[in-house]
Symmetry: C2
Subunit: 207 residues, 2 copies
């Protein structure tokens, strides 16, 4: 698809690059390093769109005719029913799983995801000189109960240290471990392409 | 993953090959041309596993130590509420969408899928000399209302004539047109890899 303005994907994620490429967009990649901190009392649901907007704001100063596309994906573990009986929700709220620092953190995260449902929320910000659109898209991911062998084999083989929640939906553990998604697969992969398409629709040159 | 027996994927589908490869299996591909007809009064839900089993049966005669993996995927459009008021279900049952013969059939199929939910069922048969396991896995796919431009652009660009229902979930129209799946993405792509993994689990060499 040809667009009426140059498109810049502000992400180092190879998955986002692949999604945009496969959907037929032409774009360049430019990343400005950003402080990705956020207030500890921000509801977890608001974090991804906040971070996507924060990343986009770094481009504002030098913005000319381009469209800047930023995204941020978080993996959220909610309380189990058992936990919520012990901890009321304001004491022990939902928890964001970040990128694991090492194999032992990765395994701890996979243990938390094993045998339950979690949420993946991807926040997106599309910014031009005259307009900023931002939104979030949520998918629910059902993991089967993972065995030690499956987790160890995956961590050893795929080294998921660049992945929120220590897994990629397109990797071994995502393929064999996820019987069901409710929502968009691409939101879990890192970019809700159906929503990005909507946001970019008015720039498509149809001829 | 190393298996204790040689694995044969009996499919020409590049998607199935990609799924098996990405999940980490070593396998060869061997396809025996099969008569894919089935009885007109077979319930549509039973067709994919029937065809997967039919494809596997062609291998039985010369089967030695291999594991044969066969699959068949169907796209099923159910009656709309409106239609079911006019046609009782035994008169106008659910309909399988096959591979479109040309661009006009492809567009007709995409029009049927547009703005509604359909089912994708993949049947699988795993056969060895001593055992045959077969099963089916279902996903529900939600399509947004597609525009003429989107359908025409897709058909022109991707030529989906080798795809049941005239779309690939990993193609342009699947990326921008599907806000939600309920079930496995890989079942829609052509192989419920989480179930295949289960069926092959006892052959995995863990060392």
């Amino acid at each position: 698809m040809k667009l009426s303005k140059p498109l810049v994907l502000a992400s180092n994620s190879p998955r986002r690059k692949e999604i945009m490429h496969n959907a037929g967009y032409e774009f360049t990649i430019k990343v400005i390093p950003t402080d990705e901190s956020f207030s500890a009392d921000m509801p977890v649901e608001e974090v991804p769109v906040f971070l996507a907007r924060t990343k986009a704001e770094c481009f504002r100063e030098n913005l000319q005719d381009e469209i800047i596309l930023c995204a941020d994906t978080v993996v959220i573990i909610d309380q189990t029913n058992e936990e919520s009986q012990v901890w009321p929700s304001h004491v022990r709220p939902s928890q964001i799983l970040n990128k694991p620092a090492n194999a032992s953190e990765a395994k701890e995260m996979l243990r938390k995801l094993s045998g339950r449902v979690h949420r993946v929320i991807t926040g997106v910000c599309v910014m031009t000189a005259t307009e900023t659109i931002s939104f979030a898209d949520t998918s629910y991911v059902h993991f089967k109960a993972l065995t030690d062998w499956e987790m160890d084999y995956y961590i050893e083989r795929c080294k998921p240290f660049d992945k929120a929640g220590a897994y990629g939906v397109q990797d071994f553990i995502g393929m064999i471990g996820i019987p069901k998604i409710e929502g968009s697969f691409y939101t879990v992969m890192g970019l809700p392409i159906h929503r990005v398409y909507e946001a970019l629709e008015k720039y498509v040159l149809r001829n």
